[in-house]
Amino acid sequence: MTMTNTLEISNLSKSYKGFHLNNVSFNLPTGYIMGLIGPNGAGKTTIIKTIMNLVMKQEGSIKIFGMDHQEQEVDIKKRIGFVYDTPTFYAHLNLKQLKNVIAPFYEKWNGAAFNDLVDRFGLPLNKSIKKFSRGMSMKASIAIALSHDADFIIMDEPTSGLDPVVRREMLDFLRGIMQDENKSILFSSHVTSDIEQAADYITYVNNGQVVFSKTKDEVNEAYALIKGGNDLLDDDTKKNMIAVRSGEYGFEGLTADLKTSKKVFGDQAVYDKASLEDIMFFHNLQLKNAR
């Protein structure tokens, strides 16, 4: 079976004062969840806003469902459910009124699906949105984004500021959506456990650049933590690691090539699975060392 891509980004660039999104490229195959991770200010929101044409790209191309995201913006957006990092609504309205404002924009608006999600999330229809908690606002955003049978769901930091219970519910819900293999989800988060729980693909962005974009399995296989005594460290062995931190009791480093590392350090070092948090931490350290 041929794999099609819901999203194709190539050589995307955008500059702001003091920030550059540089040559960003990655693809999201149809039927999968991609987690966009990176520290605060890495460029995740800029990438998502550029995909949505809320921020104008300077170079590169973005294709969604095989169509140019600017030329066929309206057709594309009919099939996208978008959740902002900070829910933006007419806060003086209640959810029912807000639904009445938004529903006419979608030919495929599904009132029953909306009511079902509202029930499932326990949202009040007649309460002013400004009285909603952060979790309720995010759930309301998701209910709206998922009520027109969207094929591609884009969410910017959907779990940010949510308590662990609601966060878990949200992630389970995302996985539930993927029962339909024609749907795809792109969501950003700086909470690595969210990505580890829900994503099939991981794209790691730091300092406006894509560090890697791989399947979760590839990431798990490629990266490892190496721990050992400081006597193992010299300029040659350090080259094998992305970054190293050493202390009184030894060193800890991240490698993206476990096979070679094992040849270099042999049995003298300990090899552990690297979590996404480890990967982010050491890549960030590498960036700091390079400065």
Partner: protein, 224 residues
Amino acid sequence: MLKLVIKDLRANTMYLLLLFVVIAGISAGFNIAIKAKVDIEVELYVLAVILSTMIASKVFTISDNESNADLFFAGLPVNRKQIVLGKYLSSAMLVLVTLGVHFLAITLSSNEALRAAHHFMYQPPLWIFSFIILTFSDAFSFPFFFRFGIAKGAIVYGFCLLVLMIVTVLTVNMLNPTDLLYQVYLTLINQHPIALIVELAVFGFLILGGSIIISIHVFKHKDL
């Protein structure tokens, strides 16, 4: 595009109702004041109509700004050109409805004596003329709001209006009755009201067209 206008109406029903109560109050109150038969009150009334209509025309813009609605609606299946055109249409509709409410309120709350004393106030051409002038002023303001946002846009727009007013007053004061410009001015003023309205409408539409083109260009390239 009509959907954008409908969303404006649905999202701002409460503000609109409040606003129209205030507007109707201004117009109905005028008839109490006019009993004093002082012309300055007519002038004050005209000023109140103009100001209230100018404010009313910006109700949706202010509400959208408060709710960060441009960002939200740009995420829906509409393009930026439609968003801009929707704002112009909503705003022109507000000017029309506001003046309509004024006209109805002043007419319904008047009596024959008042209508005789201030005949021109109750004639539709004055209100049509006002609609054209206010739509023109509105069109002039939009590119500033799209470029600078509501707060900064209002300051830049206000400053430009002030400069325009000063230049106009100085020019008028410096004109002699023998000047060609003065003659042109007299000819324009002394035309048949319908001719003047048609000319203003054509001029207004040209300004409106230019303003829409600039606003679309600005908003299409804006990062939200």
